[in-house]
Symmetry: D3
């Protein structure tokens, strides 16, 4: 049976929840990803990451958070770019809070958020914190929520394999090797490698300035080049990251038997 909640009917979903399945919520964004990838990379990747992870631990994947927090220049090119379509912090917080409360109402006590858009993290965190505070006030103490950004589960060994010439940090990976490789492996029909703008990584200041100075973002909107991406690298990233996430979730939630 599918691990994707949106493909399940309510009765099948209820059985899984009643059996104690964790719920994993992918959190994406609609954000420009250069000329070579579509606007919903973060939705596709967070959902796929959650799906592969869920398969390993018998979890359910909730429908994704499609629109996320504003793109920031130092991690996503900036929210001034046409195509990038974002929500205010308050709304991202409210969505995360509502989803935790709703899944808790369903009876899910083990919830994970699989983040695929850097800028979302703190707002998802706040939403979770508010939901748990409200649950606690209502006398519910047995809900636990994990927040994971999938790139944090790419270990140093993998980084060395993927970036033989040196790694410039996750912040500059917007539209670069990581995302492009994963897309090539998972959704090759959505990537046009002939359109990669193979230029050196962006040089961005160690602070933010608002309104952004648009000239600081490369013309492609990507902060580093995806030219060295490959489907093989994508498979490696997917395997390593989901395996590590599955391990962390199984340990934290004390899952005794895995899924598949």
């Amino acid at each position: 049976m599918t691990e994707y909640m949106d493909e399940l009917d309510a009765f099948s979903y209820r059985e899984k929840i009643a059996a104690g399945a964790p719920v994993l919520i992918p959190a994406g964004s609609i954000e420009q990803h250069g000329r070579h990838m579509p606007l919903n990379v973060d939705v596709l990747l967070s959902r796929a990451m959650a799906g592969r992870t869920a398969k390993q631990i018998g979890a359910i994947v909730a429908p994704p958070i499609v629109y996320g927090y504003k793109s920031q220049q130092r991690s996503g090119g900036g929210n001034h770019l046409t195509g990038t379509t974002s929500l205010d912090a308050e709304t991202v917080i409210a969505i995360a809070k509502a989803l935790v409360l709703e899944f808790a109402r369903h009876g899910a006590g083990k919830i994970g958020i699989i983040n695929g858009h850097f800028e979302n993290y703190q707002f998802l965190y706040e939403g979770v914190d508010l939901a748990l505070r409200e649950l606690r006030h209502g006398g519910t103490e047995d809900v636990t929520v994990m927040l994971l950004s999938y790139w944090d589960f790419v270990d140093d060994r993998t980084i060395d394999e993927l970036y033989p010439d040196g790694f410039t940090g996750w912040d500059l990976e917007h539209g670069g090797v990581l995302e492009t490789s994963l897309m090539l492996h998972l959704f090759p029909e959505r990537v046009d490698m002939t359109q990669v703008d193979d230029v050196p990584p962006a040089e961005l200041p160690n602070y933010d300035v608002l309104p952004v100075r648009p000239e600081l973002t490369p013309a492609s909107g990507c902060l580093s080049s995806g030219a060295n991406a490959s489907a093989e690298k994508g498979k490696l990233l997917l395997d390593r990251a989901t395996s590590a996430m599955a391990g962390a979730i199984a340990a934290e939630f004390d899952l005794t038997d895995s899924g598949t």
Copy 2:
């Protein structure tokens, strides 16, 4: 080229927007739809309706609003049901407002919201109103937004064809002939007709009571039977509704040439 924004790269999207393409935003929900259909029927149908409509008028389909307002007992079975996963009004309002503001920032002056979940409507309306008020304060006067619920574009002739034994109203169509037929036509692999609970339409009071009395909702969660649904009816519904919506949008936005 695809009409779906989430499959477009930002540069192609910018060209379409610059050429004056309207943007259509599907608004769905995650809501139980009986034993025979998945939880994301409203997302799938609003997105497909928007897609077919967009094709006829050269519009872009924005990524869908996946989570919607709470299911109400008289139109969706009620929000007490496990699987149904909803947002508070404030959040639905905020999402609609943010999307209008973001598409306006992109340069889109012609925006439509294609609603596929009855309960969303008033909150989408408020979000649009707030966005336009904010735009007006900022000096932007040239943004127009249409709000359409797709079933309102099913005309009386079609209703007579679809419901030869009499029509009980859109409010009871939750999980019934309309939605099941559309799903059979568009996503047959997601429907299991053997699981349709073929019982008479629910009898619900002419008021709301909260907390809901769960016994008023049929065991299936559907308010009427989908047993008489068929892919042919679905095709008819899709053709008639999208054709009517395309006509209304083209007229309202004064679109001189159509798409495709």
Copy 3:
């Protein structure tokens, strides 16, 4: 003793509440109602409907919600019209929530909202839902709230009697036969029948467009003509609707003995 809370002193009110009296809250609006009726028709009628209903079941009528949600073009002419004075959704929600919480604090476990302004409904619903959620978190489970729109209690037989030439739907009844007749019966001094603009019903699209196109609203602001209104029809409407509402409330709240 009066059923109107605002005419009661606090001590008399406390006795009634302690005896288990339900509380009915009228929800109106300040909205243009043509040249022949005043701006507070919705306040007057919801309050009178609540009053007559309360008399039959021993309920208390709370002071009315005077200002309501924005007038929408398809049910009230639109909020662009001067005189119409409205609140944002968030505020209507907050008022409904606060009133439910306050009456619950007083000890009222049976609360009804008698809506007299179409556009209010979904926002009142959300306010009630939020209040009950907060009460539930605080451990209070014994508060029930009904939401009623008085026109939903006009049965088909009455409609046939009132509209011998055919009924065009409640949505077009803004300033028409229903409201004018009720005003003629209840507050004849506030109606000037010489000012009725006797034109055919408005023809409005099956969608909303914002900003509204003002030319779609008839010059009078009324969506149908009140020329066929009469005090007799008003009496019939009042009797039938309040009797039906009283029956529904008594049944839902299990009221064993009726009022005066």
Copy 4:
């Protein structure tokens, strides 16, 4: 023609607004006022004060703000008392803001709020400030709002006449000579002088403590005795206060000719 907006039809209202009439908004509350007066004293008095003032300067009286901010123990007995029915600060602020924005939209540039409930004041002030900030952002600079509490327009001479044995301050006047006299003059049928609890003024601390200590509020809920009230005193208060308010408003708004 009446000065009360809620009795006007929209067309007559528009004429008055177009002629430059100021709009006065009464702000009341639903609050216990002892055994001898009804729960809506603050609504009745603020509305009557506004009405008499409006008559002198050709102003329009908006429908009242019926529900106000929470009663505080040192000025209204406290919000723990059954019957007192209040809104949170945020909602009072939102109502005041919305009304200023709506009347400004109508074209009213001269708006007054006539406050009749001590605890409302700061929240009305904030609502006005937020509305004017929003108007300013939108380019509207020609709206002016006055905030008046009617008791501030009772001068020292009148206080000496009304309280020959000494005045204990407006804060303790809740349910006392001021309000009871005004009610006796304006709405004698709503006062039952046999129910006045003629005890010395309450002795309340010079700070607030929450939760309130209920024993600090007198059993009647009134903070001073209304036994010395009379209709004559009420007439005097009404005349003096409305005359002073009319003078202040006419001067501030530079009204060259008065009304009626």
Copy 5:
């Protein structure tokens, strides 16, 4: 050991809280105070008042609320003045609410807010009320909060000593004898008496008008003259007010042994 929380390490703080120490929160503002005093007078004085009071009753002084509600013309000169830096009501409410909830989480059941900026009061009150409501919903009933404005603890005898020529009311004391004297006693290096603008008290109307008429505020921004201020008066004020506050808090919180 210091009574100031911000100078304590967390472990020492925990011991004091565990021993039942009350927490006093100073509430100030950043507001112009004439040519002779700095912008943070209200922060300095509320913190010092809280400190002296805390010493007498073994309380802890929380870090101050630095930014407060908008300055109003009749009590602080108005928020149009450059230098005055204020928060909206909603934010002041949220801060007060959060602090009560946080100190309650720490285990503090006895909390006082020492207000030093007139305009803050009602918003602090609302924040406290909301916090206690949330605590009550969560099952916590043993938290009590006092709200004190320090000038309310200056008794009539002291006023007579300080203002031999007559007292014009606390509202006009902005930048006058009270604040200047306290500053001279506590922070003489922050006062420049040569810069006092010795003019008669401001004459302000008995209502508010927004936008403010700037000409109503004296050029200095002070509403009365501080020329008669002295360090001796400051010491007297400090001693009398803190002694009275300490007494009130000890009595209300039933503190059996006092501090240092």
Copy 6:
């Protein structure tokens, strides 16, 4: 003249603003910092960093944001710890927004926020973004805001000098060498080196889990040891970071002449 706004009188402040001085806002928190440092380390250090930076570029230092966002376990030990006193995200956002709007009202077009509490950053960013959006709607385009976290201005060379045995990342620097050294240099009387808990750095997972597992935070509350801290290191850190920040601000704001 002092660079600290809270020590300036309003008239001197106005002169500086009129002369084009940038405003730097320190953002701290009240958070446990082990047994050896006080709860307001983040306030003290962000204010001192802002002060030294301001001196070099002729800027004004605004009063600090004293209470900040919740401490998170992976960067501050967690918000479950007694003593740590935090605000919700919404409130931090509102404070940052309000301050930008207020300083813009004063005429300041060059604003910097000097962050001293890791968890604040994204919420400060959102507040700035909302303020600039509101200013833009109001027609103000000439306000620029920089957001800086002071540790981002410690360069690699300095890190090598300070951590000869290897650097474990800023995230674990809570209560460690960085903060302790700065405190030893700036506020030696507030540090008690005998109380440093000299244990290895905390090992924290690469995700968040809520509610936090308290056992993951070391008993001291510090995430790494401050035992190797020294005043000399503090001076070095202060000099290097403020010099780099001054350079960045001067460049970004195009300041032609520096201060002092």
